[in-house]
Symmetry: C2
Subunit: 189 residues, 2 copies
Amino acid sequence: MKRSRSLPTKNDFPVGDVRRYLEPGPIVLVSSKWRGKTNIMTLGWHTILEFSPSLVGLMISSGNHSHEMIARSKSCVINLPTTALTDTVVGIGNTSGDRVDKFAHFGLTPVDGEEVEAPLIGECHASFECRLHDDVLVRRYNFFIFEVVKAHVAKRPVHPETLHYTGEGVFVVSGKAISRKALFRPGML
Amino acid sequence: MKRSRSLPTKNDFPVGDVRRYLEPGPIVLVSSKWRGKTNIMTLGWHTILEFSPSLVGLMISSGNHSHEMIARSKSCVINLPTTALTDTVVGIGNTSGDRVDKFAHFGLTPVDGEEVEAPLIGECHASFECRLHDDVLVRRYNFFIFEVVKAHVAKRPVHPETLHYTGEGVFVVSGKAISRKALFRPGML
């Protein structure tokens, strides 16, 4: 698979504001690196847990090759694909990292992070570098609590068209944005 | 606030399939009951954790009146509002249950559950009755792990238009559904 090499330019973004991209619940691509090898997995089971420190929880099934790589390296990058990458998202979910170099196979560009070893995916709209914060629920629920230590976000579009998985091979796409800012109590914003 | 009383008719739905509605990451309304009083809160910080048992994780900040009611009653109902309820969703987030009877104030219809004390919200597209499964992370992260013990879903539309919160008073709305079922390996569906 070949892909154009024009990658979105990303800016630093406040780690305490990553909810803007993750709270809507998109499918994300989680990249990792361990002993010189990289991997990527698709993931839809995640939640914001706290603003400061910037905490997110990810359920990474132990059946995934990424599980052990992330548990050992204690880090990962959460990347946000848009609908332009729909077929790549499905392809990554279909293949296992113990047999395939996913960056090469899917024509994705690994970009060095600043805080963690795991590579960012250049083609994605945003990338959040994460360090393991608490593994208390890893054994019981495969639930990793990470701190986002560095965030990179493309400037445009402000509301990228993201994929939200429903199971059964069907995604819903985030569409129009609607503001109710005027209705919110100031303290609730 | 007055509202029409024609409530969507809901059917039983398999508890192992609630990811269809929750994995896309919508804003939900969480209803609770404790010592004869009911409450409702808006919530966007949740994730699916397991298919069977059907587990979901909810971050319910201790600043919410609902937190104690849910911790004590060890149950809640996760209700899925559509865009028809946008202003109600914002209003519920703006008000505190220690001062306001939210069902009455917002013209919502409490419907008896089958498995838990907390009432379903009749106007919502779906309602998932939940029993506390594990409170190990409640004290440290306000993170409740619930088992969905009964699910009720309106038959139509198949893909309801749901709200996904980005912060700053802005929601993105789930729009068109796209299927890539043909691309998935059978075991991945």
